[in-house]
């Protein structure tokens, strides 16, 4: 175990990161409670509006995670490198989870406000498409066995897939839709803005922590393989 832990010091699970995880969790609870307390019920939606404090940060963190995938994938393509590959994979996994969360929460929100679970609105569909793209990315990783091939292939798919992030983001502008257009702080009740900002940071911390955790796990697995390599090649 010791030799494995030394193989990639960056990936070693540490107390600092454990504390960060606890902090992220507590901050999330704090942000949620504060946001719910300070916001008055919405004129149209009443308390339903409070789904916003999870739906919207989840959407933003999804974008962020896939942005990380894009950056790491580009680095893999141009320089190669194991860490970037593992980081891209971790970010894609966590991003897909947040993506699914956005969808699920949006649907739960849509049912009472729009009266339907789903509608073929550009924003909604493009969010679903984004999820499908990264499911494709993850299944590609699942069944390419050779690590190097897996790295380059998924990097190519990751970059092409991430091109869709700005499209999703802009889709509301380009196509007039049922879904909310991006709002500026000026158009929003200050209480909403504060709640949203707090939660955005809380989600960001959770995102960082989860990606880190997935990365540690992947790196440990990889390090164990490398340790086996060394033994196999060194042994007579």
């Amino acid at each position: 175990m010791h030799s494995i832990a030394h193989a990639d010091p960056i990936a070693t699970p540490s107390a600092r990161w454990a504390w960060f995880g606890i902090f992220a969790l507590l901050f999330l609870v704090f942000a949620q409670v504060t946001a719910v307390m300070i916001s008055v019920p919405d004129r149209d939606m009443g308390h339903l509006q409070k789904i916003m404090y999870v739906h919207v940060p989840a959407a933003w963190t999804t974008f962020l995670a896939f942005f990380v995938v894009a950056i790491c994938s580009l680095r893999v393509l141009f320089r190669g490198g194991e860490r970037d590959d593992l980081l891209a994979a971790s970010a894609a996994e966590v991003g897909a989870v947040f993506n699914a969360l956005t969808l699920a929460l949006g649907m739960m929100w849509g049912r009472p406000t729009w009266g339907v679970w789903w509608t073929w609105d550009a924003r909604l569909t493009s969010t679903l498409v984004l999820l499908l793209i990264f499911i494709g990315y993850l299944s590609l990783r699942a069944f390419v066995d050779d690590p190097e091939r897996r790295a380059t292939w998924s990097a190519a798919v990751g970059v092409l897939g991430a091109i869709n992030v700005p499209i999703v983001y802009m889709s509301v502008r380009w196509w007039r839709t049922l879904h909310q257009v991006q709002s500026a702080p000026s158009t929003l009740d200050p209480a909403y803005t504060l709640g949203l900002r707090l939660n955005a940071f809380a989600f960001l911390f959770v995102l960082i922590f989860l990606i880190r955790r997935r990365y540690e796990a992947a790196a440990l697995l990889r390090a164990a393989e490398h340790a086996d390599d060394a033994r196999a090649l060194g042994g007579r």
């Binding site: 066995d145 190097e148 393989e225 086996d228 390599d229 196999a232 090649l233």
Partner: protein
Amino acid sequence: MAATTSLERRRTLAVDSQAVARRFGARWVLRGVSLSVESGEVVGLLGSNGSGKSTLLRVLATLLRPNAGSATVGGCDVVRDPDGARRQLGFLAHAPGLYDDLTARENLRFAADMLGGSDRPIEPLLDRVGLGRAANDRVRGFSAGMQRRLALARLLLASPLVLLLDEPYSNLDVEGIALMNAVLQEHVARGGAAIVVLHELAPASGILHRTVTLENGRLDAPGVAV
């Protein structure tokens, strides 16, 4: 670099592998194979089934990346300069690698175009490997030996420095074996080098300069003369 001009110029090694290692999944097939072949030398590569002979050839041919170690073909590193290595090698694999729906002639035409600027006429080549009469037949109906002969003809389109031949005699009849040996002899006379995977030495008698044996992912007894 004037790669194609003179084979004689190169007093360096034709093939040089240094501690090449390769695994599939968790299983190490090559565990540090070092093999040098000089120009004008034909090395027989022996080893039992599954010992990694084809894997080694595929690494040298730039088709598989080594997990550790390095290898050069004609002075070009197979990982860092694969294109350079490819220009210097000819590879005959287990599978013939032909297009079933093209005729024999069209297959060669295509290969010539892909090799870039190879203007060697195709008819004589077809005649040489005994496929003159089948030149306009589709490869789909070719027998095992005919396909192998066509793959040999493709090899003759270019005059690479290094030939990597994986069990070249299999499926060939007596005449085909003689043809293969003649090709090898000319290649050596031009100063070329070759690695030939074999199970039986008989068909290649008089051609090999030495043999090496791959066992447990390492080369045993390098340099044993035949």
